[in-house]
Symmetry: C2
Subunit: 396 residues, 2 copies
């Protein structure tokens, strides 16, 4: 198994809580299930972790692939429990409870821990059938996932390589655009819009085997809302935030990077904000090493931004301008996962992959954000991002 | 509000069960929440339906957009409940329970119904705080969603237009490929692979504002596994299944279509299977009208296939060849939603959007599947798909 998952922390927790197993009932959009099962399918399936193995329950359609591709020790198909007959007799809801209760019984499991996101319908159905169901609220699997194996790091690096190609394609469009008298950017005779740059990013990622749900190419006031994807014509003398978070279609691993550009002159305050954000980004990077907390790293970024006179959520929890999000987050099979680089961020461990992405926002000025993806090491970090930091876009 | 949602069936159910509200705790990947709230966000948020309105609870980052874009009657931000302070004091799990309990209290809600997929962690947390939580196991919101409004039909039509363009691009590649002596298809001097056709499909969809997670371009034995996406060189004299299910990036509405092609001669049995599948597809379409059940329509397809001598899951529940899936499924904000066109399929209503997609599978022969997307009407159906059915690929 390439992924080479170590579930011993989960098994220890099960033993400590006197639980026979850990059950996930979700589809492959649940990163924990994908990680634990080594399997992905379009429809829901179930993964049971016991002391002696990992056990999958899948539809007949998925059975062959699950046997070949998953990392599970056993794979059972639903028809073993006459699932279709149960559905016809009892409806889908009760059929599922009955099937799962039988599946657990076959594995000698009477008490289970489940993730917080475990469906209440399934939990209540199993409880009615005498299974003892307790929520594992610590997020142990997400904690295990936070520390990447060597294989996982390779996959994340590969996605970030694709991301760099996409960022370069976007930057080249910005760099080679002409500026009309009204300040709008024009490329190949047509207005250069957020949508056009986004399309170029997406096509570049596709050619590298990656996809994405969203990209941010946000100009001016759009960029001052960190969740605004941006739209319409891009303009000179304005800040343009480009944030790309692609996912490799095959492996499922994400990467993440942000750069902020401006053609022409965005003004003195915008340039100052860029410089201060870059200082905060460097201070946060400097603070990273195994043993410090995500809160420490977030604090390092806040220190720089507050010292320069900008509000942060630390200095003013209700501010809507300044630094209004966390410094970073874990990246892996989820785009946002553990560990957190925020006031709530716990200890960073070697092998944690995190983004470092301070920013400053104000609708009057626009947005600035600079983001790299790094892996924490014993004595610092290794940057997984190989992309120049600079406000002025350049071609190649 | 464009979507124009009618939640009266949900409110009646709440009243009948003596529940004060219906609570969803999920992210925008939950179609029910997107539908009920008219809102989509990258991070989890909560939607509460009461007798007097729809109420959102969102992070500060989403607040402005939620006020502007959502269809909710009220929008509350988490900071109203000092969420960050609660996280710092009690950890994320308990903080969320406390915040939600306070949010419910503010709306005078003491007892809630929740969807089956509601997180057990949240349900148990609220129960510990005295909230009466019961699972709504009927899937009322999914039932409401199954009947499309005029606006929704327009969105699905638009996605299917993009899908037709993508299918045409794929078919053109197959039609204009040359056949090498070893039977492999070649295009522009390079091997025509499943991956290359998939890329062409994806780029075409991107240019139409649509994206997709998966596409199936499966040749020969690959096509005999309905969930295999296909890979490697495409060959003449083999069946090639092309199944495309894109989603409009803006509206979130899916479409779905499958065609099966063959260059050269796939053999007599393959041609017979194509003809029988086309007959089953026509029989299923013919059976559709408001008032019949999804099971009836599925039965019409099974009749044709069984009469022609092929196994179905109806004639042999354990078969791994023949017709090994349902005849169709609802399509909307989810790619698989209500109603079901399967042995479990209930009554079809005017406005239901369903796929009709019988198929025949055998690793020795390959796969055949023909799929259109239709909307059920009072006296039949309207086909939302405008694409020729034919085994031989043609350009334009």
């Amino acid at each position: 198994m390439e992924l080479d998952v170590d579930l011993s922390a989960l098994r220890s927790a099960l033993e400590a809580d006197d639980r026979d197993g850990y059950l996930i009932d979700d589809d492959a959009s649940d990163a924990d299930q994908r990680y634990v099962s080594g399997f992905t399918a379009p429809d829901p399936y179930q993964t049971l972790v016991t002391a002696d193995g990992v056990h999958l329950l899948v539809s007949g359609l998925e059975y062959g692939r699950a046997v070949t591709e998953s990392s599970a020790d056993t794979v059972t198909r639903r028809s073993t429990y006459d699932y279709q007959k149960l559905v016809a007799e009892h409806g889908g809801h009760e059929a599922k409870s009955r099937m799962l209760a039988a599946f657990l019984e076959d594995h000698g499991v009477e008490s289970i821990a489940v993730p917080r996101t475990f469906p209440t319908g399934t939990a209540d159905g199993l409880r009615e059938r005498g299974v003892d169901v307790a929520v594992e609220s610590e997020g142990i699997v997400e904690d295990i996932r936070a520390t990447k194996t060597a294989w996982e790091l390779e996959q994340i690096r590969a996605t970030q390589r694709a991301n760099e190609a996409a960022m370069a394609a976007a930057e080249e469009l910005l760099a080679t655009a002409e500026v009309r008298d009204d300040g709008t950017l024009v490329h190949g005779g047509e207005a250069l819009t957020s949508e056009r740059v986004t399309e170029e990013i997406e096509i570049t990622l596709l050619r590298h085997g990656c996809g994405l749900d969203d990209t941010i190419v946000a100009c001016g006031a759009d960029g001052a809302d960190p969740h605004d994807r941006g739209s319409g014509p891009l303009k000179a003398d304005e800040l343009i935030v480009v944030d790309i978070f692609p996912r490799d279609k095959e492996t499922g691993y994400f990467a993440d990077m942000t750069r902020t550009f401006a053609r022409g002159d965005p003004g003195e305050e915008a340039r100052r904000r860029y410089a201060v954000t870059e200082d905060a980004y460097e201070a946060a990077l400097e603070a990273v090493e195994a043993g410090v907390t995500g809160a420490d790293v977030h604090g390092a970024a806040c220190d720089v931004l507050e010292d320069a006179g900008y509000a942060t959520l630390r200095s003013d929890p209700s501010t809507e301008t300044g630094f209004i999000h966390s410094t970073g987050h874990g990246v892996g099979l989820d785009i946002h996962e553990q560990p957190s680089v925020s006031p709530a961020g716990g200890e960073l461990l070697a092998g944690h992959v995190i983004s470092i992405e301070p920013g400053l926002y104000d609708p009057e000025i626009g947005g600035v954000r600079i983001e790299d993806l790094i892996v924490v090491t014993e004595d610092g970090y290794e940057n997984l991002t190989d992309y120049r930091v600079g406000l002025e876009p350049t071609a190649e």
